[in-house]
Amino acid sequence: MFFLIFKRFILGLITLFIVSLITFVGVEILPGDACTSYLEREAFGVALEACIKRLGLDVPAHERYLSWAYNVIQGDFGYSLSGQMQINEVLGPRIKNSMVLASAAIIIGIPLALILGIITALWRDRMPDIIISTIAIFSMTIPEFISSTLLILIVAIWLEWLPGIVIVPTDVTFLELLPNIILPVIAIAMIMTAHMARMVRSSVIQVMASDYIQMAILKGVPYWRMVFKHVLPNALLPAINVVALTIAWLLGGVVVTEVVFNYPGLGRLVIESISNRDLPVVQALGIILASIYVSINFIADLLTLMLNPRLRTLQTRK
């Protein structure tokens, strides 16, 4: 089994390597380079030369890639053109803020999704299912920026319960952040929960229709015992993967939400750096976000491996 874990780990590293290549090559291929894009009309003369020197663009591409990769592994992401500082310093508070948002959404979202998913599956096609599923479908299909906007409209503007837009500076204490994150968290969690709940629902339904559940019923196992001991462990195992995928979606969804709420996190940094043509930051963000995605997948794989008796024992007889 440890070999399997090790294999997965290596595969994850390979994926990251490919991602780094893609980010680097992608930026290289697109027209212009980091300096001309950033400086735009002022891309000439002393300013251009200084920029090139700063970013090391006078060095051939593969050397640049190697030194960049080397630095990244050590945690140095380079220099931000628009911020005029080391990217690491820019990233620090942003990551912290986005983590707060994401963690809150996950802590609320996952348990809620599990409960809702199980309820809608066990009371399938009856009132609880119909109501919850309809809300879920609406949450899933409406774009995040719309639901966020509507949330602001209803809660902040009409009802005036919470602030709509976040107007605090980037580095701010957790306590000051708190009232500002309630709406964004709701916006994100709503969509996440809806996706996950639907998946949990179909997984539970599928398991409930299986032969071994019929056997458990015929064995006289009481309903709730059957649900907790026979149904859920088997239904929730595939849900781990879905949770991982949804969290991965979160990485993208957080961008739009942060823009709508003007929240000072990684997502808003994505927009800012692209608007400013600050390519080194874009590259750094690409590799960071990809690493988060790969890590989550790895953990999900690990969990599945450990919890699935079939994979654990690795011995299957005819």
């Binding site: 994926t15 920026f145 993208g252 690409g286």
Partner: protein, 298 residues
């Protein structure tokens, strides 16, 4: 003669009858019916709206800024004095066109690559899937925004870019469907007879994976629309003054507190279209007997 009383009576069907049958199955359930109605409504609206739009969508009238809905301007005016009603009914055109063609590109490249991987198996399959996974792990927004910021927002850029990113999900489905089919005996039978690989792919495999791929493509269409409007919202989709719902929402939201009409109408338009496509895709899946319940959402 074998007793044929027990075999079902069905006559051979032409393609047109098959399509109509699928449509009527879709419409037989309430959700499918609603979805189809909404979708058809939007398509007709998008196609015909230029002809009955009461005003010019780009004429700016500073004096008429932010007027509430009235008999003259049914949905009111926006911050530049443009008629919101006109802009709303025109707002879906770009979105529908871009995402429709983008979906076709996604279907084509995703389907072909997925089938290829499913067929070829082994090392090459592993390598290709790993590369696809790597692409999937970069948040699409980041990549899209980058591409768009450096290459511009014309439809020639958007359609292939969207098609590329949204095709990834189709690769998985096509690959899985191909895996399922390949293991079946009728493929082994064709191979053992000595049919050429091309003939096996075309005659035996394709007809059996086509349904799964089409259904996934339909769902992708709705996600793509969602993504496209998010792009427009962020300012990286269509460029002004083109009326587009995402862009309209972005423009109007700062003024939500006192000009709600400018933001509500595009929201309704966009939401209903996405829901319509979603419901239709779901009904389509059910009508073809494809179980999508265990697939990941994005």
């Amino acid at each position: 003669m074998e007793n044929n009383k027990n075999t079902f009576e069905e006559k051979p069907k032409s393609s047109l009858t098959k399509v109509l049958e699928i449509l009527s199955t879709m419409a037989s359930k309430p959700s499918g019916f609603i979805g189809l109605v909404i979708l058809i409504f939007h398509v007709i609206l998008a196609v015909t709206s230029p002809w009955f739009a009461p005003y010019d969508y780009k004429s700016i009238n500073p004096t008429l800024m932010l007027q509430a809905p009235s008999l003259e301007y049914w949905f009111g005016t926006d911050s530049l004095g443009r008629d919101v009603f006109t802009r709303t009914i025109l707002g879906g055109r770009t979105a529908l066109t871009v995402t429709f063609f983008g979906s076709i590109i996604a279907l084509l490249w995703g389907g072909l690559l997925g089938i290829f991987c499913g067929l070829v198996g082994g090392r090459i399959d592993d390598i290709v899937m790993r590369i696809v996974d790597a692409f999937l792990s970069i948040p699409w927004i980041l990549a899209m925004l980058l591409i768009v910021s450096l290459l511009g927002t014309s439809t020639e850029v958007l359609i292939p870019a969207l098609g590329f990113f949204y095709g990834k999900g189709i690769v998985r489905v096509a690959r899985a469907a191909t895996h399922d089919v390949i293991a079946k005996d009728f493929i082994v039978s064709a191979k053992a007879r000595g049919h050429s690989n091309f003939s096996i792919i075309w005659n035996e495999i394709l007809p059996n994976v086509r349904d799964a791929i089409l259904v996934e493509g339909a769902m992708r269409w709705s996600w793509m629309l969602l993504g496209f409007s998010s792009l427009s919202f962020l300012g990286f989709g269509v460029s002004p003054p083109t009326p587009d719902w995402g862009l309209m929402i972005s423009n109007a939201r700062g003024l939500m507190s006192f000009a709600w009409w400018a933001v509500i109408s595009p929201i309704v338009g966009l939401s209903t279209l996405i829901i319509g496509i979603n419901l239709t895709a779901d009904a389509f899946a059910k009508a073809l007997g494809i179980d999508r319940s265990t697939k990941a959402p994005v």
